[in-house]
């Protein structure tokens, strides 16, 4: 049976349809979820897409955190359901305290809109297990508030426990330690600023590396044992 990946639309979400297309192209079934859904329609994983939920009022992701669907997602994540947050979705996950740290204004104050080269730092997450740790990927980045910050102790802990998932090779926003994406302790919740869902077709993307993110969660859901690169 095909895995069902829920894609949440908040008021102001923009990339929900691209996310659905990416999920479809990678061989899973996209399922639309709405911000005030109280249940997750039996999905196997959740994708929080980019955009400007609630107009970025107060802080990016600060209002979306209190939407009804986020309660259901937090509970599901606690039980191990894979959850991916991209761009505004990453901001929502940080505001919800499902991921550590925060995303603040780019250090240079400019909106940054260009492909970002990233290193996949770990294959030990639900969303990266089909990559080799150390692999380079290219996903488009497009954000004004993408500078990842956390206190030094948190950053040290993330590094030590292998929870830095993606790192910029050309830091576009001043993120601390070049961090582009992080995971929770269990590795089922991952957030990153650049957009894998915009890198799934040669016609429109800088690469097709984004397919690997969905392929990873499919492998994870089918219980395909250890991450691919684990038996080095």
């Amino acid at each position: 049976m095909t895995a069902r990946v829920g894609i949440v639309t908040f008021p102001g979400s923009l990339d929900d349809r691209d996310a659905a297309r990416a999920v479809h192209l990678a061989g899973a079934e996209p399922v639309g979820l709405w911000h005030d859904d109280a249940a997750l329609a039996g999905v196997d994983a959740v994708f929080l897409p980019g955009g400007f939920s609630y107009g970025d009022a107060l802080r990016c992701g600060a209002i979306a955190r209190f939407s009804q669907v986020m309660d259901a997602i937090a509970q599901a994540a606690e039980r191990g359901m894979p959850v991916l947050g991209v761009c505004n979705g990453f901001q929502v996950l940080c505001e919800s305290h499902l991921l550590p740290g925060a995303l603040v204004r780019n250090a240079h104050l400019r909106y940054r809109n260009r492909p970002a080269r990233l290193r996949v730092e770990t294959d030990r997450t639900a969303w990266t297990r089909r990559f080799q740790a150390g692999a380079e990927v290219v996903f488009p980045a497009k954000h004004g508030e993408g500078r990842y910050v956390a206190d030094e102790a948190t950053l040290d802990e993330l590094e030590r426990s292998g929870r830095v998932v993606f790192r910029y090779l050309d830091n576009p926003n001043g993120s601390m330690r070049d961090i582009a994406g992080v995971a929770n302790e269990a590795g089922n919740v991952v957030g990153l600023m650049p957009h894998p869902e915009h890198a799934v077709e040669a016609l429109t993307g800088p690469s097709t590396d984004g397919l690997g993110v969905v392929a990873s969660v499919l492998a994870h859901l089918s219980g395909a044992g250890e991450p691919q690169g684990a038996n080095r």
Binding site: L58, R59, A62, F66, C94, E95, P100, G101, A102, V104, R105, N106, A107, H108, L109, R147, V149, A150, D151, G174
Partner: protein, 86 residues
């Protein structure tokens, strides 16, 4: 009617690029003796006439929504209610 003002500021260790941009513009005003500018938010809240536990509720609002404790600090000022006219 209780009036509450909440100031939200980035923590001192968090870079404030907006404040730095303002600082960088000051020489154009011939102001050259400023060491630092930090920009925050001021939020004014008016509670209902008969609201109770205003301080406690203000703290909930500030801590859970207005400020993100990972990057921001907040200060709550509760304005003394004006003396009712006899």
């Amino acid at each position: 009617m209780a009036r509450v003002v909440v100031d939200v500021m980035l923590k001192p260790e968090i870079l404030d690029p907006q404040g730095e941009a303002v600082l960088g513009a000051l020489p154009r005003l011939n102001v050259t003796e400023v060491a630092s500018v930090r920009i925050g938010k001021r939020v004014e809240i008016e509670f209902d006439e008969n609201a109770r536990n205003v301080e406690e509720q203000s703290r909930v609002i500030a801590d859970q929504l207005l400020a993100n404790p990972v990057i921001e600090d907040f200060t709550i000022y509760i304005e003394p209610s004006p003396i009712e006219a006899p």
